[in-house]
Symmetry: D3
Subunit: 341 residues, 6 copies
Amino acid sequence: MSQIVTFGEVMMRLQTPLYKRFAQADGFDMCFGGGEANVAVGLAGFGADAAFFSKLPENELADACVAALKARGVETRFLLRGGERMGIYFCEKGAAQRPSKIIYDRKGSSINDISEDEIDIERLFDGTKWFHFSGITAALSEKTLNALRVLIAGARERCITVSCDLNYRKKLWSREKAREVMTELVGLCDVLISNEEECKDIFGIEAAGADIDGGVVDPEAYAGLAAALRKKFKNLTAIAFTLRTSVSASVNRWACILSTKDGCFVSKRYEINIVDRIGAGDSFSAGLIFSLLNKKSPREAVEFAAAASCLKHTVEGDFSIATAEEVEALIKSGGGGRVQR
Amino acid sequence: MSQIVTFGEVMMRLQTPLYKRFAQADGFDMCFGGGEANVAVGLAGFGADAAFFSKLPENELADACVAALKARGVETRFLLRGGERMGIYFCEKGAAQRPSKIIYDRKGSSINDISEDEIDIERLFDGTKWFHFSGITAALSEKTLNALRVLIAGARERCITVSCDLNYRKKLWSREKAREVMTELVGLCDVLISNEEECKDIFGIEAAGADIDGGVVDPEAYAGLAAALRKKFKNLTAIAFTLRTSVSASVNRWACILSTKDGCFVSKRYEINIVDRIGAGDSFSAGLIFSLLNKKSPREAVEFAAAASCLKHTVEGDFSIATAEEVEALIKSGGGGRVQR
Amino acid sequence: MSQIVTFGEVMMRLQTPLYKRFAQADGFDMCFGGGEANVAVGLAGFGADAAFFSKLPENELADACVAALKARGVETRFLLRGGERMGIYFCEKGAAQRPSKIIYDRKGSSINDISEDEIDIERLFDGTKWFHFSGITAALSEKTLNALRVLIAGARERCITVSCDLNYRKKLWSREKAREVMTELVGLCDVLISNEEECKDIFGIEAAGADIDGGVVDPEAYAGLAAALRKKFKNLTAIAFTLRTSVSASVNRWACILSTKDGCFVSKRYEINIVDRIGAGDSFSAGLIFSLLNKKSPREAVEFAAAASCLKHTVEGDFSIATAEEVEALIKSGGGGRVQR
Amino acid sequence: MSQIVTFGEVMMRLQTPLYKRFAQADGFDMCFGGGEANVAVGLAGFGADAAFFSKLPENELADACVAALKARGVETRFLLRGGERMGIYFCEKGAAQRPSKIIYDRKGSSINDISEDEIDIERLFDGTKWFHFSGITAALSEKTLNALRVLIAGARERCITVSCDLNYRKKLWSREKAREVMTELVGLCDVLISNEEECKDIFGIEAAGADIDGGVVDPEAYAGLAAALRKKFKNLTAIAFTLRTSVSASVNRWACILSTKDGCFVSKRYEINIVDRIGAGDSFSAGLIFSLLNKKSPREAVEFAAAASCLKHTVEGDFSIATAEEVEALIKSGGGGRVQR
Amino acid sequence: MSQIVTFGEVMMRLQTPLYKRFAQADGFDMCFGGGEANVAVGLAGFGADAAFFSKLPENELADACVAALKARGVETRFLLRGGERMGIYFCEKGAAQRPSKIIYDRKGSSINDISEDEIDIERLFDGTKWFHFSGITAALSEKTLNALRVLIAGARERCITVSCDLNYRKKLWSREKAREVMTELVGLCDVLISNEEECKDIFGIEAAGADIDGGVVDPEAYAGLAAALRKKFKNLTAIAFTLRTSVSASVNRWACILSTKDGCFVSKRYEINIVDRIGAGDSFSAGLIFSLLNKKSPREAVEFAAAASCLKHTVEGDFSIATAEEVEALIKSGGGGRVQR
Amino acid sequence: MSQIVTFGEVMMRLQTPLYKRFAQADGFDMCFGGGEANVAVGLAGFGADAAFFSKLPENELADACVAALKARGVETRFLLRGGERMGIYFCEKGAAQRPSKIIYDRKGSSINDISEDEIDIERLFDGTKWFHFSGITAALSEKTLNALRVLIAGARERCITVSCDLNYRKKLWSREKAREVMTELVGLCDVLISNEEECKDIFGIEAAGADIDGGVVDPEAYAGLAAALRKKFKNLTAIAFTLRTSVSASVNRWACILSTKDGCFVSKRYEINIVDRIGAGDSFSAGLIFSLLNKKSPREAVEFAAAASCLKHTVEGDFSIATAEEVEALIKSGGGGRVQR
């Protein structure tokens, strides 16, 4: 039994070494990653009891992926095996004015063929308190979407908290389709994680006065955005936003906002020399879920989640490698980065 | 215009470094390869004028593949661009008693969607003397097979010599389907490259007395095999066999046989400490086509092709990197490998 | 609960890259390993339910070691954490006439400070069928030896099969001390794994006529050696020997012998181009334990264990990376190493 | 036939890995580069039809260089082969307050021995619209200079636009010699690329009020400089300046100015976290030539060339790897570097 | 004979590659380092005649360390060989808000067992002008401390200048013990190197008004601190402080102060994009000793030492790789980092 | 003062990684090497007091070379600095039937410009017992040859033993020129190292019955060869031959012969799986000089030198990394290569 279960696709990530362009590479650094897998890894790193649910093919590449999840302390016993292939994504890391590029090669991956019949929901949700998914999973295929519906329904029946990271990917589905499906699914959620741009793109809800690129975050604007979302989705008890300002591919500013019934809380804003920003949003989700499950106050929760995701920017790969103690230490130190001997 | 045209799939090859198993790798060495692309590269290395025809997606990974072919001197202007993805194959190099493992991930690759209408056969075959393909290409999809039929027909109309490397891959199609299709296609060929095992598997023709694993190659047995093939496929003027004895994943023995109207010629047998044996058969094809196009005698041709493919075993990657001078030097030296200063 | 439990030290292994000498290295390849940890990994690879018991310090290096064990499927929940440091061993891989060199730096490592009081034997041995240790563990420190005694006694009480790999290391203790302690401990074992040289060094028992370096293994000689051991150690039901002939640091010959009440069984002898021979003996132990637990016949068991350890020679690192299917495939193929597509 | 021809030396570049000093390296990253080769590569990357002309020795190192140029789409058929050796330059990348260091080893390289008789100017300039060279080429040797004179004369006869990047290297020749020769050659050019410092050093012409290190670029000062140059060199229709402010070896500011009959146009100024700044000037030249050949307005041209060279700073190696689309995208985005999925 | 002698521990440093966390590494970059060894290397780099004194085990790892010192020009003939092991430290490089982490594994290393009897002080100090040590050496063990006392006494007898870098490491000893011992030892020194925090921690002396994290360094505050120290330690003729402001693990500000009888001199303040900050303090010590030995003025001395340590931040490893010419060039250029061709 | 002095060129060696061909490399492994430098390093490794004399340019690449020699314990204080450049050689390692290839780029290197006036022969030969050079040095330039003549004369005057490794390189000079010069120089030598092929090529002296490629070495044939040489060169007291049989680029057989007044002694013949064979002959010279200086018997000397050079084949780079103890251990063990723990 696992306290937290996440469901989604985990892919092989193939990245050109250092700052090499695709045209220059004669090899790739490899790791595994994907939104909900990253959230489970983040949670396990904090010491939480997290399981990842998905479907992977029966070959040595998928075996290596399962081993990587195990190594990071994630429960992998519920993973289904079968289908054709692992999804892959190729990545070229940007620098300065040159953006990172991602080429997805995830068509026909095993999770697209998942069937409701394969899901043993009793076993999967035995003792579970929290279920998490993202909009990416909803967009993959009809079968995946149906599996997701089954899981959300099963979670709600069992009074399991359901969280969703909106995560809109325009290459996977149209805005219209996303709006229709995500309106349905978010309506069934307790916690929503998103950003200002997505809310506008998918739900047409804008944060009046949210000066995204400016130096200051206006809590009022985000409070208004949260209110509008809460009006639309009655089940939501917590709504979180991440706020990224891209100075360049090398330097980003990052802050987070959490709106609950107690008000709207804005985290410290970090200016970050980026090592690897992929998976930072997932690390925020992990930090938030961990905080809320452990009854931290909203202020503590948003600072913990923001610091956790700030740290992720400094770690290579999709997976967050950070303990709760390291996150707490960052909150305390403010990020001066003095050598720890 | 190119003297030689080959048609088939070129894939991205992702290999674990050194002797790492899939379970141990956190990166892959990358190169490109595929039967007919390898043949074109081999020919260009010898100084021949070779073009590769295929279909590749429009992304930077495929751009890198085209650049790699250009770098090796292959004509790439006829390549079609479009479709979904590049085929990939993953490779783990064996050693001693542990065999190499290959995991194919080539479903849905662009060449599977090639349409006859995309082929500008006039332009492609302008000035061409030789067309080469392999059984793998025939097995990929119905669309690929149809494109192949169009190309073979176009070649025959223009009196272009057609060669086929039988190359049976049991994961791609059934023996029955392979027999049916390859019987049709080999019937249209002038030159066939194969081995004893495939001839038996696909055409049910055996080499009586071919002691494959023994120390001596019996030309008589292969002469009989060639005679049986020639009886079945009237157009064949030259039939070549490769003969690999796998002592272990680290050491192979390798010899080649060429049967023409002038008789059956057996090459020197090489005992090889393997660096990379993938693509050795393609290097043999390249050596054979180069020799026959350049009017070498059958004896010279089989020695040249055998030496070329022996050299390929010592080079990393699918592509042969050898000049005709290097092949000739091996034939002369016998392979003592003294330092060339 | 775990079917098999092993107890011993796991160390960080730091190896110069490729064939670099210590004098040439500006970096090390790192992995983890140690006799009993290797056995647990080998067993988990075959699909068995194996736990590793030891003591490791509380730092990120030891965390990485635990993650590596988890990744390979070993149960790590029983591991104690505390003490000063991880043991380390430095390794320089030999080639041809130059031998591999190992520099141990294991003094003061956490397992040397293990206390009986830390061992929750009820929990550790809940449901366990087999307990395994080696002579190295007995030699580490008095405290480690006492812990080992507690574990062996606990195992015998619960009718758990006890196996010992004699593994004499002359840098850890004197021959006299080893004889005294190992005579005590082997007297409590059901299964002994050793080789001809160790039996002579430690117990003064020689295999008359065992022509170690010759081309043929004489089962009679080993039957005699086993009989002498059985006479001395009444509990032994199975005695296994490994037989290594070192042609050079690059090529070894390897065979195994198993003596049970049904007779003395000699495995196929492998001539191996070595990738990494460290841990091959442990892989033999894993293969043997797996076979005996799964009721294989002595002949099957010795062939399985020999093939498993042959494969280990072809894999980098201490850990065996091989499935039971791969071992069976080697037994069937005889080791020709043909590419598996 | 090629639309654009460039002439100069291409060298092997050997760079210590990462930020290693020469004293620390036991290997080098290798690529090829040289002013005019870089310009040809940049142009080919934008989709232009560019040929590189030079002389290289007949060995495998030069073969690899030719392959690298082919891979990037440059026409290499006009390259002469012969002479003694390839020029080499060694490079140690600086960081923060430590400057990059370059050690040239280019004496006696093949291009120094080029003879006019080897140049088939009819074939080389068949269909050509633009010829480009730099001051470095003029400085190499008398023979190289003579070849350059022949090429410039040939270009002018054929009404081919001639551009020169002044590129003064004080280790190659004295200021006096440079002044004499470059005054002759620039007098034959249509387009000049330079910077404020070189104009002063070589031609003694200063940009009054050009506050190089300040935060603002004064177009007036550069307009004055351009006017003075135009007075001296009557053929010049376009004069471009690059303006680099070196905050440190890690961060540079970069802007470009183009003066034509339509006025003096200043590009956006970029602040760049440097990956590799070598070849940035050449990338500017490529962007400028591409723009002018494609009838972009001066404003568009200077922005395109500035963005192209900004991107080059983010790419390892001498060669620019950027498409025209990527350059346009940077102009549009302003360089925020958001991930492109 | 060597002009300068330093005494302390040199360790093997094992660092995860690039920005990998301990959890992600399967290898380490290796170099050697330790406070006083680093000082000797820095001095030798400037052309000084420096010897390093310590005790190292008799194995190939220590041989490699000695070779590394020799390669950098340090006199190694006085090194004692014997004892159990080399000290090791593991390092994970931080980035942005994530701090670097160091795990020490130095217990039981050979220098801890050094005996006074092993020291041939006549030979060691023959012709010596300067002796340097740090507080770390004093903290290692009683035996090391006694050896240090013998060396200091021997130096004073011979009128050799004695310098001490306070270097308090809280994991090695308590504040109380440090205060007691360092009060004794600094009382015997001519030159002290420290920082504001240590002075407060160890001697309870504060710099009134030293706004450490602010943008401006107040010489008055440091003059007061120096006066207080001089009052306590009568022998001190020069007192130097380093002043590090940690913006993040990626960017630090760095300045240095030197107080002599001529007044209190503050260096230029550098803002540094860090490559490797370990050993920067030692590089400052080397620069200071070199300057004072070479009779530079206090102003020149503090600028030289500050520039030397600024440069060290841009070089990987503990060892400074910089000539006196490079340091002077930085002082002149101010750090713009223009490429040196 | 150094017991042994060697004189020759040391070059930068740039080798493609692993088994990559020049066409495949985007980097080189770098080390330093050259006949006489290798001999000095080999001698220093055995504990002898060896100095290397040469001329190197004043740049950081040459500094790195000097550091590498120092690290290996060679006395470098006599090295001259000046001239244009370091010699370079590029290397591609062969495998199996593919030979290694070397591309020299040594023209114009500093040693070619050495002047007699630069040589302080008093200081260089102070206390020296042995002077060694090779035929390569004699072939470099007239100036180098003159310097060599000065050194040989100086050695003879001081009764220093002079040894020469004939080492004929056909790319450096003609057979006729080599014969003329080497006849002069060998006439001044006490010890000659050569092989059967060179003796024939240069001096026209053949070893009747020396079945080079056969399995057995005939001492009689070599005794005859030695007698003929001794007749021609009256000063020779010891003549040594190396005997390489190239089975392939991966496997060589290697034996050595020493002829003195006591007879003709043949070493054990080694069959070697090659790691790197470059410098093996130099390692033989070092072993021979070391043995003769240390008054070993001819039998001991030839076995020591043969074992030393056998070991060199297993070590990457030009330099031998072996202690006298390791060489002795190989002689004792016969080369079984058992792990040394």
